[in-house]
Amino acid sequence: MINKLRLIIKREYLAKVRNKSFIVMTILSPILIVGMIVLIAFLTDINDSEKRVLAVLDQSDYFKKEFQATSSTSYVQLNDISLEAAKDSTITMGFYGLIYIPKGKNLEQATNGVYLFTQDNPNTHVIGAMESIFQKRLRQERLEELGVSSEQFSGIEKQFEINLATFDGEKSVKGINEIKAFIGGMFGYAIMMFIIIYGGFVMRSVIEEKTSRIIEVIIASVKPFQLMLGKIIGTSLAGITQFAIWIVSASLLLFIVVLVFDIDLGAIAADTSMASPAMQGMPQIDGEMMLYAKEILNIPWVLLVGSFLVYFILGYLIYSSIYAAIGAAVDNETDTQQFIFPIILPLMLAIYIGFFSVFSNPHGPIAVGFSLFPLTSPIVMLMRLPGGIGEGGVPLWQLLLSIVLLIITFWGIVSLAAKIYRIGILMYGKRPTYRELFRWLRY
């Protein structure tokens, strides 16, 4: 019996890895991914090197010193011309825009009349930069009225950051929860991708056996459940092979590309993290980098990788047996759509719950609920786990309960799927409905 299972696994594995499109994907994907990273780096570079020039027409004389060139913006002072003339020259010189500060009795009156003229709608970064310049000047003015000198003012300017520590005295850093959830999220995301890609492979492989009519020849020799299990295991081994090749070759390729093109990956990382609001507050100071590194090393990696394996295996078996049942129930791939959506739904839900709820509160009621619910727990629990178990992390009972629920669901779903599979593989020419599938469960 075990012998036959091994034969099936071997055949499924070889059939998969010898498949032309599989080979092409295996080779092409790392190239595409690295290519994309290089492209992003390249575009980021272009983006940064673009310099905006703004014309400043200051008729009030309050802002002579405020417009200092920065890495992305420089200023040209226009003097003694009318607003209309300034507009014209801004356009003819091809500047990004014109800042107009009218005459005023005092600073406040002048600032109230400030306009930014641009060709198109201005970039939010530009608006933000301008607003902060005026705000700063106004604040300084008011403080000077209260008797604060400009030297004292630049003293106030120093940014304040709160120091964080846990109760046992360990120093902590901002954003570490998000980073931890992000690392867990990567594991969860990997599980989701694996299920969607290789679950689909299992399904197509079942459909292929049906349409080529070999299925009855095979199940005259082996039990349908053995065939289904062998197919799932064989396909997942092929998947793991592909993933491993991807990771190794992509890292190698990336390493080479970075060396050859001299790309600053840190810049991209910082840039992409800016896009996600959860990741704001990333370290800027080198000293803090050490703290972050320490925190990341403090993540319970053994627990995390161990649980990843448990959740990965159980989650993949649950979902891919559903995929196998769907493949058995239909005659061709176009009929699968109505059944695929309900499978993808909990996976997507888990990812979104993870990114929106677990990031902000890893141990809140929603995070706990979905990390116990078996169809989402493989992803959501992994996002919570980098915080460790026990105090300050996931309570041990939640982890155990979640795994127990997952195992129960695994038995339930796999035996239901096996029933549908057993009936479905011998059914031809019927377009199945949910009701039909439900009837098969009673055969």
Binding site: L7, E208, S212, I214, E216, R439, Y443
Partner: protein, 312 residues
Amino acid sequence: MDDILVAKNVSKTYGDYTALDNISLKIPKNCIYGLLGPNGAGKTTFIRIINQIIYQDSGEVIFDGKPLAPEHISHIGYLPEERGLYKSMKVGEQALYLAQLKGLSKNESKKRLKYWFERLDIGDWWGKKIQELSKGMAQKIQFIVTILHEPKLLIFDEPFSGFDPINANIIKDEILQLKEKGTSIIFSTHRMESVEELCEHIALIHRSEKILDGRLSEIKKAYKNNVFNVGLQIQQEADTFLKTLEEKFSILSSSFDSDEMQLNVTLQLPSNHTSDVIAELSKKANINRFEETIPSANDIFIQTVNKRENDK
């Protein structure tokens, strides 16, 4: 133990649909057993139960004296009606895989496959993919894979579909030789001409029930109804001769060949005592043919099914 397979009161339902209704059969060893019936009669369901692909709801199946069990799978070879092979897998690899699934070792499988590939003259296909072969070629490979593990019981479901007449003949000869070597064979079909040629026993399944079974020769005997074909060489005009015949016999049909002066008549006799009839006829004309019509399997099939339909 004279029977390779005994089914006792086997029933199977799918939801509200009854696929097999209380079927009992005895399939003797070392014979070719025809399992006949219209499409959807329940033949395939019965065969799948023997192959343990599905299980009966009630009743018992005995294989070679023991209740049917998973270990019997390696003693059964099954060529399903819905059959195919992996399209993108090479012929040799595929045959090896299927042989190993039946429990043969890799080396033994290779040895036997080589023998059969030579025997059926397909040795050079080993490295080809199925999608490069014609349908008939793929059927040959499936036949080999079915019989390779030398099972005690072979089940062929419509084995000749997909074969051209020449290859069908080759396969038929192979089946007969397997029987000579002592294999028991179940042959499921609704093509009656091959039944006449091959089967010694038959069972007729209709609408989930067995309605007839036994030795084909005995069934035919039972279905004989004293109809005789007679060829007569006559000297006179056919019409007048027929009239004189009609006074003594009931004539079912007649035809006349004027070139040869040959009159063919089909007679319905009250019994199978023919000596009086022959004496009577030979007074009138020269008898050059006199034979009893034996119903064909096809006639029996249609007659039995129709009778069953009318009874309901």
